[in-house]
């Protein structure tokens, strides 16, 4: 990622947590382990500006002086995630405020809001000072802006946020007539008569607010984060050499990361903690579910970094109790990230914090600083990965895409009708595709998304596009016309860009694309959330919501009909021939049974089945460059699994040829190479 052809490895390090006497030993042991990069300083504002406007760089100068003597590089962070206490006590208006008015106080992280003029000023000063001082430091290869933007909280209600939101909508709508029109303020007597009456959502029972205002408020949050990021990015880019990269680490809610990367970053990095998956009872795929999140990351930067890769058990003193990774799992999870497109892995963290909230968020080393099995496993993992030439920058392979749109995500987050559909469908799509060995990409809709980005996919799933934008409809129609297979889920097409419902037949603007109308529908109750349908001759489940479809075009064919309730016999899933392609409308949320039948209908089987056969509990992922394919087989179970290699490959572990049926022990990983 950083100019090499191999995957790079790093670790998060906090010189300020340790006696200086430990520094050199730490760096030397890192190098022995294979670590090439350290990330530093993201919570260290006070080490540079302990009192307001009194700057002092001696602490990190001393540390970086030592680093410069070692074969190790640095990712340097701006420290804006945790303002010093003198700042928040002197200027409390910089603090983050919740919907209910609670003010975040010193002692946690991210206690600031993005719109306070004072905080923006203080941010500029500290970033300028740091860039001025460290901009040309030879060890530093890149900069991280802030840390985990929108983690902890992703909604902001400080006075400064209200003021800036007012400017945002003033700029967007120009006058109150247009704002009143856009937000439908005729309902419930909400008409605004003065800009000063406009606020971000404020308290009302059940957090009820005008939904169109709410959508704009979420757009405003994203814009606020992007503005904050770009202020820092501009300062950094001005003060550093051209080959120095700028990034930040995610992923968190209410941010248009694609726009952020476009505006301010070289690429995104992800903080990757698969044990969260182990703790979630409702998540059947456990740590393997993180392949979903890595796919979401890949939709932002096709090659990305892992800024924090889990290195031990996890927990805060007051929250979260995660088990110790079993032997093999740290390695497995590292390969999982790489298989999905990560070109840089930085473990969190070198050694466990000796105090503070995160004493149970274990690093590679424990409090006792002794060599341990996790250190050995990281070393072995790095060694294994480094054997694979040219992996860096090779592309993740998939025939299937899931379309994602930020407007729809943000609108559905507040919408109890569409919210659960989206969540359930995305989960079902991921689980079904994973278990059938069908790799997929998320594709995020944006103004730069082109037909070429879509055409490479055999099938595109679009779960629940309630908001319909002309540019998107145009793209989807063209994709289908040109031979694509489009599959859309229930409740698609009834809102405009403001989240309002125009007086049009559903699915609005797409009745021709799908060849249907929707004239009746029903929510299914929480305790009875599925109806059966007959798909050709198979029984499938139509979950959560049932759109009752009326085919209106001769090119439209009913694939499945409901078999229950008053709408038994009505169309449940239809397919329309549209140009050279086909457009399926699925009248419910996606679930394993209806996805499977749709895939079968389109003849989609395991993508690499001609090369490899593997059991359900293993994942296959393939990265490819001009010359080679790298095939990753990941065994998430603790038991040995039989893998059938139909073709002959090179095993990257020993560079030997390999074929036939082999056994992969529990948590093990196989990386095969195939020349093209």
């Amino acid at each position: 990622m950083f100019g090499t052809k191999k995957i790079d490895f790093g670790v998060c390090y906090y010189p300020e947590h340790w006696p200086k006497e430990l520094w050199e030993d730490d760096l030397d042991r890192m190098i022995l382990t294979g670590i090439e990069v350290i990330r530093i300083a993201e919570f260290a504002w006070s080490k540079f500006e302990l009192e307001e406007n009194i700057f002092d760089f001696t602490f990190f100068d001393e540390f970086l002086e030592l680093v410069s003597k070692k074969d190790i590089k640095v990712i340097f962070c701006t420290p804006t995630a945790t303002p010093p206490v003198w700042l928040t006590e002197r200027y409390p208006e910089v603090l983050a405020v919740e919907y209910d008015g609670s003010v975040h106080r010193h002692g946690m992280r991210r206690q600031y809001n993005y719109n306070s003029p004072i905080y923006l000023e203080k941010t500029k000063i500290i970033v300028e000072k740091l860039v001025e001082h460290y901009g040309h430091n030879k060890s530093i290869i890149g900069w991280q802006i802030d840390n985990e933007l929108n983690c902890v909280t992703n909604e902001f209600y400080a006075e400064a946020d209200h003021v800036e939101f007012r400017k945002f909508v003033k700029n967007k709508y120009q006058n109150l007539v247009k704002l009143n029109e856009a937000w439908g303020t005729n309902v419930w007597n909400q008409t605004y008569t003065d800009w000063e009456e406009v606020f971000l959502p404020r308290y009302a029972p059940r957090k009820t607010t005008n939904p169109h205002l709410k959508l704009d408020a979420t757009r405003f949050i994203s814009e606020s984060v992007l503005k904050f990021t770009s202020i820092q990015s501009e300062i950094i880019r001005k003060g550093v050499d051209k080959d120095i990269f700028v990034t930040t680490n995610g992923l968190f809610k209410n941010i248009d990361y694609n726009k952020m990367v476009q505006d301010s970053l070289d690429f995104i990095t992800y903080d990757n903690y698969p044990t969260f998956g182990l703790l979630d009872k409702s998540n059947k795929l456990k740590d393997r579910r993180w392949s979903h999140h890595l796919s979401k990351t890949r939709a932002i930067s096709s090659h990305f970094g892992i800024m924090e890769q889990q290195a031990g058990p996890g927990g805060w003193v007051n929250h979260h109790k995660a088990p110790t990774p079993k032997p093999g799992q740290l390695r497995l999870w590292t390969f999982q990230a790489i298989a999905h497109g990560a070109d840089f892995i930085s473990y969190f963290r070198w050694r466990t914090a000796p105090y503070g909230t995160e004493i149970y968020w274990y690093g590679i080393l424990g409090h006792d600083n002794k060599d341990n099995r996790r250190l050995l496993e990281v070393k072995k993992t790095i060694n294994d990965v480094k054997k694979i030439e040219n992996l860096n920058n090779s592309d993740y392979q998939s025939e299937i895409a899931i379309l994602h749109d930020y407007d729809n995500e943000w609108d559905s987050a507040y919408d109890v009708w569409t919210g659960p559909l989206v969540e359930n469908s995305e989960r079902a799509l991921f689980e079904t595709l994973q278990q059938n060995h069908i790799p997929f990409n998320y594709v995020n809709f944006s103004n730069t998304l082109s037909i070429n980005n879509l055409k490479k996919y055999k099938v595109i799933f679009v779960p629940h596009l309630t908001i319909v934008k002309n540019s998107m409809v145009k793209l989807l129609k063209r994709y289908t016309e040109e031979g694509g297979k489009l599959v859309i889920g229930a409740r698609s097409g009834y809102k405009d860009e403001n989240g309002k419902c125009p007086m049009l037949t559903m699915p609005i603007k797409m009745t021709d694309l799908f060849g249907i109308e929707i004239n009746d529908f029903t929510f299914l109750q929480d305790f009875d959330s599925s109806r059966q349908a007959s798909f050709l001759d198979k029984k499938i489940s139509m979950s959560d919501f049932n759109d009752i479809l009326t085919p209106i075009s001769s090119s439209c064919k009913t694939l499945a009909t409901y078999t229950e309730d008053y709408y038994a016999g009505e169309a449940a899933i239809t397919v329309n021939s549209y140009g050279k392609g086909q457009a399926i409308y699925c009248g419910s949320s996606f679930n394993q049974s209806n996805i499977s039948e749709i895939l079968t209908y389109f003849n989609i089987t395991a993508t690499f089945e001609k090369m490899i056969k593997l059991p359900n509990v293993c994942e296959i992922a393939v990265r490819e460059n001009e010359y080679e394919q790298y095939i990753f087989v990941l065994n998430y179970s603790g038991d040995p699994q039989k893998i059938q290699l139909i073709e002959e490959f090179v095993d990257t572990k020993n560079n030997k040829k390999i074929s036939g049926t082999i056994e992969l022990v529990g948590y093990d990983v196989l990386v095969l190479k195939k020349l093209k």
Copy 2:
């Protein structure tokens, strides 16, 4: 209801939500559907007073001008439910404040408090202006005050509420000695020494407060609502003709509706949404449970209106996900309301809101404005109802009553001992009586309730009369003396009107009426909430709480004895001969098993069993006037049901004679006529 002998039909309409071009088409289609009345303007303050004191009636003038040309009448609303944003921003003291201090802000509904002098002034002005302008409009047949008073929130803690509460108790108690005595402030050192120390309940852990103050606080809330209503009612009555009615729509908590009707209204209307019953997992009778709520409405106005009758699926963007009514259900629910005494049905709403919080609270028409099956069903329903002559103003028939008392309701709402008893007993009484085809009325205790109102009932159930008032005891004794059958539930008789416990033997003031004393009792635990008893020779369940009864009168007979725990063998249910009547004390909450045995003991069987036999899942309800009986049979199930007509009736559908066994299809309704 409105001067005709037939049931009237209306719809809620929002001219301000639609382009003016749609108005005429909407009105014409309404008339084709059978709609005779529209309700308008309840959230339209800004359409009359967009800026403070600048009034403008042109918008509604234009609409009403169009209406005047059509055969359609208008219920006009005062728009005080949603103050304009200029009002709440300029005078934030008018806003509703919750117990925890949260202030309701612009964007939802009912964000005001009833006691703010400014809000009262602004209310008077807008109502006066509207009455002045529209008071003699020929299309307007009645006025609705505000909308759903006490919906959203039914407790208020703004500064103005505290101030007014202080006046309320000052007026009630005159001096602090009496207030301290009434509230028992000796306990926990609560003695007040200055009026300024008196507040509505304020924050304490678990919302703990003096329970006698709490009871007065609830009485004060009801008084506040009544005062607010009567201010508006007086203005309207002064400015309109005598035949114009005044109403409001309910039902919500903490309001003495009987007093409200007496003071300010011609009758009450109810907002009727039976799908709430479908969504409630714990509610076995689903939509049929709404017969309970209609009975509660009937206890306020024996003939009432439905101001909002459900017309489609329901939901807000951020809350509530209700299914689409199945074919037949809209009609069923309309007939259910009429069977219970509704003489006017106004559907909510003509067409679904295109924006705002209620985009999923479907009207008859959907967003697309196309004719749909719901429109056809409404049309058919109206047609069916209109066939029935003279139904309007006929009376609901029942032999059984349940006595309800606002003081007891409000006291038990804060009392964890009696609260669950009341809730469980009312539910069990409703379900048992419904399923045994025994129609009943609620009778609300008030100062105008007379012995004649009670004497018409064979049996009166009184669930858990913890507060005992002399006037009520007198009435119950007289009812029993004169031959009535009285049945009271556990924990009756131990509090005075302040909710305090006098030094008297339980059931206080009623030991002679029931011929018993209660010297021991026990709460049953949540996880073991019933004990068995033997009622004559049958096993019954004694649920939630067990009073252990000691007969003290020779006229008292033990009907059931406990068979478990240390009080096995003690009396559980007793009956006392009192005058010509009988008084039963049931030592637990009411449940299906003890209610059934009590009914059997009193020889109460299905009220109309000599005329009709019908299965459990169907309801029978009878309305009657001088000349005729109308028998409603309602099939709540989706399956056909066999109904056995023992006598000969006229089927109102076709005016033909009908008898013998007939089949009623799913969700269907049979309305029979019988001459007296």
Copy 3:
């Protein structure tokens, strides 16, 4: 307790709740019942100072004048638990404030904070006035300070608390360098640069705060309570005779009661309500669990009082619904308290409150004031107890101790890793020891705890000593060296006194004591919270957390090995020979199976099995003085139980000899005497 050799009996009485005409009858009936002492005035501030600085003692003078004529003594309370409303309205800064800023208002109890200078001043004045007036009253034998300190709330965040906390840490750390060091403020940029920046924890999501600050904050709460208590105690002691005792009633959280007794009290009293145990579904031992709480009380004062002993059903109007004690249970619970070391029993309360929040918190008498079965049972109980000579001041006998440390308790309360371990282990130890008839003492660690306090125990369990203090380690080592058997649970030894994690091998400072190192471990997930191990040849469960033990000393022997997961075969429980003793490290929380095997390994069987054999559902407890042993057998079940007396005893009921197998009816108690 109060100078007699017998157990004393009292009752809580509220002269201010009743008409004066009732007083004499009440006192006379108390005396007939056997009551010797009444506790009064704890909520009666307004009876002495109805307006600020206007004192008036006539009300209680009149009552005490009457008391002086009766054979009844008085415990007089300071009334600071409920300040008058004039005080809290005039000086709202005295009010208690919650973490979220909610202010406790007049109407509940304990609405003040301990650090408000005004409240301290007002407290001094009222206590001085009361002591001045009643200090030498002949009826008064002792004083209760306040009432239930830290009940209702045990965390305080008023401005005065922040200010005083700042002083507390300033005094503790002297300068900010040391404070920053102690709290590890390097993490998350928390470095303090000015004392004014230091606060008690303030709002942050999930109440996240610096855990070392949090520990100091809890210490500060305890210190605040102790200071408040000692201010009152000093005033009382100055103004009363030497033989007058001073106490307060507990037990509540965040108080070092051992220090409190040392500083300010003669002994502690406990408020004892075993029905809380009946209501707790998760508590298998129900009311018997209160033996646990009585043991905790005994660790504070080896002989203690019960200031409030449950006398009836319990409940507040708005919270808590407890059943009526069954016949025999009031007596059983009284004997349970005495068996565990209570030398004084004061029932709560004489007669049930007629108004206020506690109308369902029943006293001996009900609202009706009639003689009832509870009164008869109390009378019989007192009579039974009074037959037992010399019981007062005899000592509870046990061979086993559980070590408790306030610092560890307070640290683990905020720590989600250790908190559940402590809770589960303490519950398992109590249940296992109880059901195996092995009485135990809690021993609270303090600076005055000596080796002699420990040496009398065969085995000491130490559940989860995460914080390790040198003085404690020294004591535990000496105990073991001298022949003791020490058993410690998982996660012991990794924090210093600030709750920080030093760079040392676990269990820090105790690797030699246990002969092991801990180099790996894992939290078990909530839904899979146990792993199996093999203890010698038996299967046991290793619950909640698994430390993986590495024996490092030749004197260390592995007792149990894990049989599951990746650490199968590793040591789970080890025993180390240390001096003349043995030190067991148990790598998980304690549970019935591992405790049982450890007891068997140490040959610990039922302590009194040579004297008595009794079934599981009965408890045995023994009190002993120089000459005699009193053996209590308590039957918590409602069924008769067979007790086998192996030796011959004297039955205190009739002073007759008794031996062989006897039957104890449900809820009955046997108290045997044995001469030594």
